[in-house]
Symmetry: C2
Subunit: 355 residues, 2 copies
Amino acid sequence: MSSDKNKKPKSNDGSLKNTKTVAKLIQKRKTINPNQLFDQLVKGDRIALAKAITVIESARLEDQAIAQNLISKSLKKTIKSFRIGITGPPGVGKSTFIEAIGKHILKDRKKLAVLTIDPSSQVSKGSVLGDKTRMQDLSANKKVFIRPSAAGETLGGVARKTRETITLCEAAGYDTIIIETVGVGQSEIAVHSMVDAFCLLLMPGGGDELQGIKRGVVEMADLIAINKADEDRMEMAKKSRAAFKNAIHLYPPNENGWDTKVLTCSGLNNKGIDEFWKELQSYYTHNIKTSYLKKRRTSQSKFWLHETIINHLKNSFYQNPQVAKVLADIENNVIEGKISPFQAAEKLFDSIREE
Amino acid sequence: MSSDKNKKPKSNDGSLKNTKTVAKLIQKRKTINPNQLFDQLVKGDRIALAKAITVIESARLEDQAIAQNLISKSLKKTIKSFRIGITGPPGVGKSTFIEAIGKHILKDRKKLAVLTIDPSSQVSKGSVLGDKTRMQDLSANKKVFIRPSAAGETLGGVARKTRETITLCEAAGYDTIIIETVGVGQSEIAVHSMVDAFCLLLMPGGGDELQGIKRGVVEMADLIAINKADEDRMEMAKKSRAAFKNAIHLYPPNENGWDTKVLTCSGLNNKGIDEFWKELQSYYTHNIKTSYLKKRRTSQSKFWLHETIINHLKNSFYQNPQVAKVLADIENNVIEGKISPFQAAEKLFDSIREE
């Protein structure tokens, strides 16, 4: 009885427990030794990897210094990794697909990390339960590391953290990285700019599911899979596949000469998944042979360098109190056609100079 | 004989003639009275319009002040204009198409201006001969104003000048503006961001002509025409049309609910051109009814305001001598994976602060 009484407050009094846990965490964080953490991470310690990512995601100044140290060290640990982006409209079955393809990937490659980009995510840093429930088998596998998106961040912030998390994962020996995006807003472009292969999942049907997808995303895809091609929808899926195959030829060719592949599959019934993984591998091999992989990664690095610069410049400009004060008015004048956009821009810069 | 002798130096000694002309021009320019010029322009004086555009294109400070004055005045003269963008790969027959559709346009609308965006253009400001030869009938028509792209400019510069030229043309009563782009680089995106309808011309065939078109342009099109659908290529053109019609349905729908139309036509034989113009008018009416025209123009104005701001910020940053000094090295370090793109960006900003 007394032991039961003691247990109850422990499990129910979340606030007390949390306060203690948070205090403990802070205590722990203070004693982070980047060298030690990195050594553990390289040895494949998943807790160390998770901790390192949390440091990267942290806004605290002392953490940022450690984060930079960890990234610099990780960059020196290059491995031949394969970075795969997966996108698709909500309900297309991305998690089930990843759960299914993950098993095939692990037959050929050493370790798999699954990261998510979701700028709209309100998931707190610790709660990976959502993702773990979505991918039960993978999350139980010791060769797999699953990490949800950092929460409450701008897309730029999430993108940076995801790029840096890729670096940490690769240093930890994860030679295959899947980056899943929820398929809203600009996140596909961000993911496309950090992967070697960009896959689009679609549902069998007439294209209604494309409602949620931004224009231009179909053209970004290196591989397209008509998922949920189950018994009752097989005919429809085959039709969709044929239609997309024809459509692909009417669009400008890929820079690397690759013919975008369209396949049908069922993540749920594990059908066509092996074929999809084989196509992905062919694509990877094609890009290594043609040196396109290196070219793509180089241009991605440049893209993120300049994207970061531009974001920084934009933030300092728009956060300038003088700009913030007059921007709405000037923007309205532009919309109402009282002033040209170019004159308006000049006016804004003048207002800063006069300051 | 003596008259021949006198003639020869005149026609051959270009330098002398040019010097005189230039001096005259400068003299003329100095005496520009913006109020008078604007009044002439509004009355439909084509020479005044051409002169006003030259002022806009001028880099001279005194001209810029006059240009701003002219644009401010023009912005107050709003008319119900229809701005049409036309793009397509080289050789698709854009000029012949414009020459053909121009005649149909003039049956329904008052006046037509044809502007070109070509950041690669080396054509000097005065030489409109190229365009006039390309569109002989239109250039002889007093209701038509043809102006080639400003030369030797960045895309940003050309875009600004084209946007401002549209404003001047509308003040001069040109209620229909065609903006033609040569179909290279980023110019399609710029044109798409300044028109009410974006048309893509393609050739009958298997898609080889898409080589020159940037990915994403097909999805930007509101209307697609398979041009050069002449007798011997009619079957092929019909096939291309059917294929594109099917493909369109597999791509995300347009924001305004408009179903992208695909037609066949022949600019050379004036076939299908009337139908194309009718579709363009339906599109315009659809957008007026749904208020999408206003929405699109509002977002375009905002786009150009912020685009100008960003370009200005980028220019000042990259032209900073400190940045210019270290950028190449830092970029190389990023490409070689010695430093992350985000660390590199911070390093660049630090180097300016330390200055």
